[in-house]
């Protein structure tokens, strides 16, 4: 086992578990989000149909991905949106830097974009003397503290208002200490409005890209996305290449299920459909709009029919909200851009199953994530697939780092397990010993220790079921 990386989730999770404040912040938020989501789907039949429709749309889009991307490029270009392609995050960062430098841009305001987190764009731009400011309130809060998002929809979920109040009073000029949420929001509004007004460029993500109309769809509640895309003279949008759908009609069900699954809202405050820069006769809007299409491992995921389901994701975060592990350790414990169940299957596929096999085992496979996923991604099945990939080199696949999570001790453990269980006589002997002497096994033995640190030691029955059935003459040989 690669001890250095394997320890990362475990250690962070342990730290998170020992922080009662963090635990409480997440538990309260998740309980609320689960209740609100459920209230949005009063009819199980409607939910089933809407999920099925959404899944079909996303699956079909992925089947036609190359054609749809080309169509998107053609129609965006026709609309005056300049399209760029990037194979890696480094390429995407360089592209964006190039666009900004060509316009002499020094300040960039950002709407929420997980792809830009994936690219670590802010740090890259800062390194080149360009200020990249997050404007989503949650993102702004964590950027002030130099943190990363702990949830893909609610990035500052891990903080409570006392922590935010302290931080604002220390880091915002002339701000007085207040725990009033309206006053804190007003403080951020004041700072950020000034930034929108002065920014040389704006950056956004893309929730859905429509191939047939060349349209970028942005879903948001705050209005910072609209500010970032309409106020500065230059707008750059970044999207993962899986975000494209054929028609605007397809966006309707996806949008409906996205907001309901994410935050339990029937509709967001804004759905912003961008199909071009400032048009003929328009008084405002950016003079230029650029779209950067990022691969970063997605085409490799796309090549595998089972793993491709990962790319159906519409980034609602419902899997996190319903995950019993995520709720208890919070998003930072995953030490990944995308936390929670979707991150547990996406991150190892992007970074390699060997490097991040800590993530693929951090699940009880309870299936709550797949149950609520609006596009029916079979997350537990993919976790098991990745566990296989991590320990076996011979699976014919393109998965990065396959086999590198293998350990000699685990290999032997399973070999021994199979050797016993496929031989009923050996199993019978083993259970005979367990039932007679299991009690004597010390609670501090390896593995048992992990169980008994919070539980009593499980004690085998005096006689096994097989033994009793045999004694009753009930077994059939």
């Amino acid at each position: 086992m690669d001890a250095e990386t394997a320890a990362s989730f475990r250690d962070s999770a342990a730290r998170a578990l020992s922080d009662p404040q963090l635990r409480a912040n997440f538990q309260r938020a998740m309980d609320g989000l689960m209740t609100k989501r459920l209230a949005q789907f009063p009819d199980p039949g409607d939910l089933r149909d809407l999920r099925h429709l959404s899944t079909t749309i996303r699956s079909r889009s992925l089947l036609r991905l190359p054609e749809l991307l080309e169509q998107l490029e053609v129609n965006c270009t026709k609309n005056g949106i300049q399209v760029h392609w990037a194979e890696s995050c480094e390429q995407a960062n360089e592209l964006i830097l190039g666009i900004l430098q060509s316009k002499g841009a020094k300040t960039l305001v950002k709407g929420k974009s997980m792809v830009s987190e994936e690219m670590h764009l802010n740090a890259f731009l800062e390194g080149h003397g360009i200020e990249a400011l997050e404007s989503d309130l949650g993102e702004y809060i964590i950027q002030l503290d130099g943190e990363t998002p702990s949830h893909i929809i609610m990035p500052a979920l891990h903080k409570n208002k006392e922590q935010i109040a302290r931080q604002f009073s220390q880091k915002i000029k002339d701000a007085k200490y207040t725990e009033d949420v309206d006053e804190l929001t007003a403080l951020a509004r004041k700072v950020l409005r000034q930034k929108f007004l002065e920014a040389d460029a704006g950056l956004s993500g893309v929730n859905f890209a429509v191939a047939e109309t060349g349209t970028l769809c942005l879903v948001e509640n705050e209005g910072n996305g609209r500010m970032s895309t309409h106020v500065p003279p230059l707008h750059i949008a970044v999207m993962g290449l899986e975000k494209v759908v054929p028609r605007l009609e397809d966006v309707a069900p996806l949008y409906a299920i996205l907001t309901r699954s994410a935050t339990g809202q029937a509709v967001s405050t804004y759905l912003n459909l961008i199909s071009g820069p400032r048009g003929e006769g328009e008084m405002d809007g950016p003079q230029e709009v650029h779209l950067v299409i990022l691969d970063n491992g997605r085409s490799r995921i796309h090549a595998d029919p089972q793993l491709r389901a990962t790319l159906r994701c519409i980034r609602c975060g419902a899997c996190m909200n319903h995950c019993p592990v995520y709720t208890r350790v919070g998003g930072h414990a995953y030490e990944a851009v995308y936390p929670g169940p979707i991150g547990q299957i996406l991150t190892p596929q992007m970074e390699g199953v060997g490097a991040r096999h800590d993530l693929i085992h951090a699940s009880s496979l309870c299936g709550a994530c797949a149950e609520v996923c609006p596009v029916e991604i079979p997350i537990p099945a993919i976790l098991i697939r990745l566990r296989r990939e991590a320990t076996h080199e011979d699976v014919a696949s393109k998965v990065t780092g396959k086999g590198t999570g293998r350990t000699v001790s685990e290999d032997w453990a399973w070999r021994l397990w199979a050797a016993v269980l496929k031989r009923p006589a050996v199993y019978r002997l083993a259970t005979w010993f367990a039932t007679r002497f299991g009690k004597a096994l010390p609670a501090s033995a390896p593995l048992i220790r992990n169980w008994t640190q919070s539980r009593t030691k499980p004690v085998p029955a005096r006689r096994s079921l097989s033994e009793r059935m045999r004694a009753e003459g009930d077994t059939h040989v």
Binding site: R10, A13, A14, L17, R23, P324, V325, R328, V329, H361, A362, S363, S364, L365, C366, G367, A368, I384, R385, L386, R387, R388, E389, T391, H392, E410, W414, R415, W417, A418, V420, L421, K422, R423, P424, Y427, T431, T435, N450, W451, T452, Q453, S454, R455, T456, K457, P458, V459, P460, A461, S464, L465, S466, E467, R468, M469, D474, T475, H476, V477
Partner: protein, 248 residues
């Protein structure tokens, strides 16, 4: 699934019931017999193979699974006192054996697999008579019973047939108890946090027994409650139903 009631069934004990809850296994067999069904318990049962399957060791899982499938020739239903193991054999065996030479044989086997309470309600349509003292119980839904196998309240329907039993709703009934097989030893801290919450929710119901279909959940919740010296006890649904209806 409703049709003519079978006269004979196979019973598959599962390794956890075999070793830790044999009374539940015996009770399951008695419940089937009480419903007028002859029960065959083939010798040579070990494990469905789920632990290796879940950890990605499919070759090892298949080696074991093959020996188990071979114990159940013919076309009789195979009944398991576990949602998780039934889910493995019914839902995951087809994945595990996809493209294998014996795929067809395994598929035919999987189609015959039933979880005990599902079989009692949906196929045998049993009617229970409660002979026990008044008691308050609560129900923990096993993740795999509900999400893999698709149990739709069959165990609760059986409990509700018992006139002297009050079923108290468990907060977060569908949340995982934290067992998850090897998860409990790979991530003991998180698993313990989940089990602690489950135990606390169960205590809050005021019930005296926590019931479930699954040995894994029962071991986990029982160990947690015992470590905290809580008076609440856990019991497998089969054992509980049999105790209530057999008349002592």
């Amino acid at each position: 699934m409703n049709g003519p009631k079978p006269e004979k069934v196979y019973f598959y004990g599962t390794c956890l019931v075999d070793l830790f809850f044999p009374d539940a296994g015996m009770a399951g067999i008695q419940l089937l017999r009480q419903a007028g069904v002859e029960v065959i318990f083939p010798e040579g049962q070990t494990c469905c193979g789920q632990p290796a399957f879940n950890c990605g060791y499919w070759e090892e899982a298949r080696e074991v699974a093959r020996t188990q499938v071979a114990l159940f020739p013919g076309d009789l239903p195979v009944i398991l006192p576990s949602g998780s193991c039934a889910g493995m054999m019914k839902i995951h065996y087809p994945e595990l054996f996809h493209g294998q030479p014996d795929e067809a044989q395994v598929l035919a086997f999987s189609a015959r697999v039933h979880e005990l309470t599902q079989f009692l309600v949906d196929v045998l349509d049993v009617k229970l008579t409660d002979l026990g003292e008044p008691v308050k119980v609560t129900w923990h839904s096993s993740c795999h019973a509900v999400r893999d196998l698709g149990l739709k309240g069959e165990p609760q329907a059986l409990i509700n047939q018992l006139s002297n039993v009050e079923l108290a709703p468990l907060a977060r009934e569908f949340e995982c108890c934290g067992f998850g097989g090897t998860f409990a030893v790979r991530h003991p801290g998180i698993s313990a946090a989940m089990a602690d919450d489950k135990a606390a929710d169960a205590m809050a119901t005021g019930a005296s027994i926590v019931l479930s279909t699954d040995g894994g959940c029962l071991l986990n919740v029982q160990g947690t409650l015992e470590a905290k010296h809580r008076p609440l006890r856990v019991q497998h649904i089969a054992e509980f139903l049999w105790e209530r209806t057999r008349g002592r």
